[in-house]
């Protein structure tokens, strides 16, 4: 990474770390938490879908399992950190259990398989835990937003940092080769199954940790809620809009999505769903690389125009 980029990242992180000191409105901080949550989710999905090419439509399952394990343990009085890690751990266990049969399916069948698994968990958890999970009175009395915000911030930094290191590693290179052409990758000595399974495990752990943080953050919700398919589809939409297979794409996508949704919900209410549906279709049809691709196209155009102008200038001179 160029030094200037590193500096930019450091400045952004410091600014984000200082925000709770200056922001007094809880609603603003809640919005930031939501953005950070979706950056983690989108980056996690991107490792499996963007880097490795395995489109998951059931990412809510990992998010939900993370939240479930953490919530149950933490409310019972377990210390916070082990409770959080248990959430990520449960998601990984589930990923390993489903990964071995699921990767017998390819392409669209894998996507349908994950969708089915996600729905099964959603319904099952709804039946097993039909109640609302509310924080105990004692926890409510001492509830503070800032520690939640910092937890999400730390997780976001770790997730994005991990995705960056992965993308530039040998394992990451192998994952992308599997995405591009599984048979050709195998012929070069890339163990496709192992790379897909690794991507699923990384992805599940990070989404599970997002769920764990959600369980620590949210005051009261149905146990079933984090398993809802909307978590899968929102996440996927963000990655597509931002640019899959890149580091910055899921970040930009998550920020754009959450802010635009906030704006639309306030102004057009339920119609916001239509806006995102149309946006998603437009991106898939005309801009499969998302905002990242759009930015590169614009930059190339500018560079070309500038070099053309320079050429013209030199010929007239």
């Amino acid at each position: 990474m160029a030094r200037i980029q590193l500096l930019l990242v450091a400045v952004v992180v410091i600014l984000l770390a200082c925000l709770p000191l200056v922001i007094e409105k809880d609603s603003t901080l809640n919005l930031l938490v939501l953005i950070l949550l979706f950056i983690i989710m989108a980056s996690s999905w991107n490792i499996l879908g963007g880097f490795t090419g395995q489109t998951s439509l059931g990412h809510a399952a990992f998010f939900g399992l993370g939240s479930l394990a953490t919530r149950l343990l933490w409310i019972q009085g377990f210390p916070l950190l082990p409770s959080l890690l248990a959430g990520g751990g449960l998601a990984v266990v589930f990923a390993l259990v489903i990964g071995i049969p699921a990767f017998k399916l390819k392409g669209v069948y894998f996507a349908i398989g994950t969708l089915a698994l996600g729905q099964i968990l959603f319904v099952t958890v709804g039946n097993l835990f039909p109640t609302i999970s509310a924080l105990p009175v004692e926890a409510l009395r001492t509830y503070q937003l800032a520690p939640r915000y910092y937890l999400f911030l730390v997780l976001t930094i770790l997730t994005v940092g991990f995705a960056y290191l992965l993308a530039n590693s040998r394992v990451g290179l192998g994952m992308m080769a599997v995405r591009e052409d599984e048979d050709a990758a195998e012929a070069l000595g890339v163990n496709a199954r192992r790379h897909k399974l690794l991507a699923l495990v990384f992805s599940a752990f990070l989404a599970g940790m997002a769920g764990s943080a959600f369980a620590y953050y949210h005051v009261s919700y149905y146990y079933q809620f984090p398993f809802a398919p909307i978590w899968s589809f929102d996440t996927l939409t963000m990655v597509y809009i931002g640019g899959q297979g890149t580091i910055i794409g899921p970040i930009v996508g998550a920020i754009f999505f959450v802010l635009l949704r906030e704006f639309l919900v306030l102004n057009v209410g339920e119609y916001h769903l239509i806006v995102f549906g149309v946006l998603f279709i437009l991106v898939v049809l005309f801009l499969p690389g998302g905002f990242v691709e759009a930015w590169e196209k614009i930059r190339n155009l500018l560079v070309r125009r500038r070099s053309k102008r320079d050429r013209n200038a030199s010929t007239t001179a």
Binding site: A187, L188, V190
Partner: protein, 233 residues
């Protein structure tokens, strides 16, 4: 160096190879020619470890390949260029080449190998940051071969390298293959372009309906009446 003995192979119930035997000696350039559907690619799949034969023996430098996984076979020094090159279009030229050196043995010498590949094919260095999908047909095939060379193969296996190339590029491709062989890499070449393959190869096998029906030096086979009438018109 490479030895196949009495290979029988099936796709489901369908027998594709009937007692295939062939040898490739160190330093040779051997061609395996024959019409579409004769079993050429199937033979290569057996060598690469992608298809387990029902009977027979595959040995490489004295080691039993049938007991090895695909990546172990790559590590032993057999590198395949699949039909059509099968480069990774959404990745850069450099990333494609790095993937060629994916197995640990090749990875150690990666930078050095990369320099020698760039020296042989300067166009790849020029385009190293470009997405492989933006290359022309000839450049893609060059990248596919460069990628295979990145694993520092002892044996380079090429499946239809002239496939889909313009006639002038086909000639260049065969020159490239001869040069690689002269630098000490043993080559097994599978081709439908029989005349060109027989001309560059030291020895050739003719395969038909899953059986080896002829063997000899290129010149011998070119004068074979059946080969002339069947493939050269």
């Amino acid at each position: 160096m490479l030895k196949l003995e009495n290979i029988n192979a099936y796709y489901g119930d369908l027998q594709a190879l009937w007692g295939i035997s062939l040898d490739v000696n160190e330093g040779e350039l051997v061609a395996l020619v024959g019409p579409n559907g004769a079993g050429k690619t199937t033979t290569l799949k057996v060598i690469a470890g992608l298809l387990a034969p029902a009977a027979g023996l595959v040995e490489f430098r004295g080691q039993d390949l049938l007991k090895k996984s695909v990546h172990q076979i790559v590590s032993l020094g057999i590198s395949q260029v699949p039909e059509g090159g099968r480069i990774f279009p959404g990745m850069t030229v450099l990333e494609n080449l790095e993937l060629g050196a994916f197995v640990p043995e090749a990875r150690k010498a990666k930078d050095q190998t990369l320099q020698s590949v760039y020296k042989s094919y300067p166009i790849l260095e020029e385009r190293s940051d470009q997405l492989a999908g933006t290359l022309s047909g000839g450049e893609r095939q060059m990248l596919a071969i460069g990628r295979a060379l990145m694993s520092k193969p002892r044996l380079l296996v090429l499946d239809e390298p002239s496939f889909g190339l313009a006639p002038i590029l086909v000639d260049q491709m065969f020159v490239m293959i001869t040069e690689i062989n002269k630098q000490g890499v043993t080559v097994l070449l599978v081709e439908q372009n029989v005349r060109a393959a027989l001309e560059v190869a030291h020895r050739s096998y003719v395969i038909e309906n899953g059986e080896i029906v002829g063997e000899g030096t290129g010149v011998d086979l070119l004068s074979f009446e059946s080969i002339r009438s069947a493939y050269l018109g």
